[in-house]
């Protein structure tokens, strides 16, 4: 008979066997959750299938939402033998949902209800505006989503404005905040389109986007809404109601911003066509103006020469006429002067002739003398004379 060993020794030995077995490290186990109990930081539960159960412990409280009674889950972790209690538990480090849980059933029910009401109706969907200058984003101010959207949008078009409406994206009251944000942003005149965005997560994380209040706010919003909730594989109710569903927030930003470099390229092409046709028009106009200018200059030159010529003729004849007129007068006056000099009465007296006058009147014949006395005028004076004989 072998020597007995202590409980501690045995338990330690068993633990060492489990720890050494690499096949048992980081394995995934499928089962249904039951017997959940929680402390502040630890979740205790069991997984079972038809014929076996496995006690589990999870030290990650954020998996709390996935660990619900009756849910089918896949847990990943390693079995651990507790030396002190002599019990084996499965140490869970990751939990994934498996199959249709309660939340999923609710999701399906809500989707069917709203679909019947016509909230997913394609006819109701609004087209995106052609030019988008301002994008409203409804998401949390923390986290990568808003940053991703800004990065993508501004890389493609640095001119686009992005207005954030900060809301919770999960947890208590998130759906009310999101619905409120949609209703408020819908009234902003200068916002062209709204993105409702959130990063990826479990069905529970995305719960707010599956609520009726968010769906109705989206349906009622007068502005186009793009939903970008979760990863490409995640579908939420808002994705069916929104005017467009983007697979990710970055994709939404990409959809709404035209690639500026492409726009620049086509603008450049348009511009060069414009410049080309403008040059053509200007060139043609220039040619026609040049031609007309030349013709005009020719005409003016000819007119000038012609006018100048006739002006010269007119001037010359004018000067000649004036000259002739003055010369004629000079000639006339010269003649008159000569005549005057010739008939100068003094010159006759100067030659020694004397003039006979009677009563101040010239007498040219002796017969005219009818008085006893008459006057004889010499060059140096006059005398009274008396008739002596006939």
């Amino acid at each position: 008979m072998q020597e007995a060993i202590t409980v501690s020794r045995l338990n330690t030995y068993i633990k060492q066997i489990f720890d050494a077995e690499e096949l048992l490290h980081n394995i995934s186990v499928i089962g249904e959750v039951f017997g959940v109990s929680r402390t502040r930081n630890v979740i205790y539960f069991s997984l079972k299938d038809e014929s076996a159960t496995l006690p589990c412990v999870c030290f990650y409280p954020n998996y709390e939402n996935l660990i619900n009674e009756g849910d089918s889950v896949i847990v990943t972790g390693s079995p651990n033998f507790y030396v002190k209690g002599g019990k084996l538990t499965f140490n869970v480090v990751r939990v994934e949902k498996q199959g249709q849980g309660k939340l999923f059933e609710e999701f399906i029910a809500m989707k069917e209800k709203l679909e019947k009401e016509g909230l997913f109706d394609l006819l109701h969907k609004k087209a995106l505006p052609k030019t988008i200058n301002r994008i409203g984003v409804i998401t949390s101010k923390e986290g990568a989503v808003i940053q991703d959207i800004k990065n993508v949008a501004w890389r493609r078009n640095p001119g686009v404005d992005i207005v954030l409406f900060n809301t919770k994206v999960q947890g208590i009251n998130a759906e009310n905040e999101i619905a409120h944000a949609i209703r408020v942003m819908g009234t902003y005149n200068n916002i062209d389109v709204i993105i409702v965005a959130r990063g990826g997560g479990s069905l529970e994380d995305l719960r707010a986007y599956n609520t009726e209040i968010v769906a109705r706010a989206t349906y009622d919003c007068p502005k186009p809404i793009i939903s970008a909730v979760g990863h490409e594989t995640d579908f939420t109710i808002i994705d069916f109601v929104s005017d467009l569903r983007a697979p990710t927030p970055s994709a939404a930003a990409e959809l709404l911003t035209s690639d500026l470099s492409a726009v620049k390229g086509s603008l450049r092409q348009l511009l060069s066509r414009l410049v080309y046709s403008f040059k053509n028009i200007v060139g043609n106009a220039q040619n026609s103006i040049n031609f007309k200018t030349n013709t005009l200059v020719d005409m003016i030159e000819k007119l000038y020469i012609k006018s100048r010529h006739s002006l010269e003729i007119a001037r010359n004849s004018f000067l000649k006429v004036c000259d002739n007129m003055i010369n004629n007068k000079l000639y006339e006056i010269g003649l008159a002067e000569n005549t005057l000099v010739k008939i100068n009465p003094k010159s006759i007296l100067d030659k020694g002739y004397a003039k006979v006058e009677q009563n101040g009147k010239s007498v040219s014949s002796f017969k005219e003398i009818n008085m006893e006395e008459f006057e004889v005028v010499f060059k140096d004076g006059q005398i009274r004379a008396k008739k002596v004989d006939k």
């Binding site: 004036c322 000079l330 006056i333 005057l340 008939i343 003094k346 101040g360 010239s362 005028v377």
Partner: protein, 69 residues
């Protein structure tokens, strides 16, 4: 002469005087008076014509100046 006569007035008056003197009907003193008057009228006429000639030269020079510009 009290009043400046025009060329036409002066020349027609001159012709009248010449005619009167040629007719020889006037007395010697009258003839001398007329002769002096005639000489003065000849001067008036020359003055008018000199003035006109000067004006014409001025016009000619102005026109030539215009042409050079």
């Amino acid at each position: 002469m009290e009043k400046q006569l025009s060329y036409e007035e002066a020349s027609s008056k001159l012709n009248e005087i010449i005619q009167k003197l040629e007719e020889g009907q006037v007395s010697m003193s009258e003839a001398i008076k007329l002769f002096d008057e005639g000489k003065a009228l000849v001067n008036v006429c020359y003055k008018h014509l000199d003035k006109a000639k000067g004006k014409l030269t001025e016009i000619k020079e102005t026109l030539e100046g215009l042409e050079e510009n």
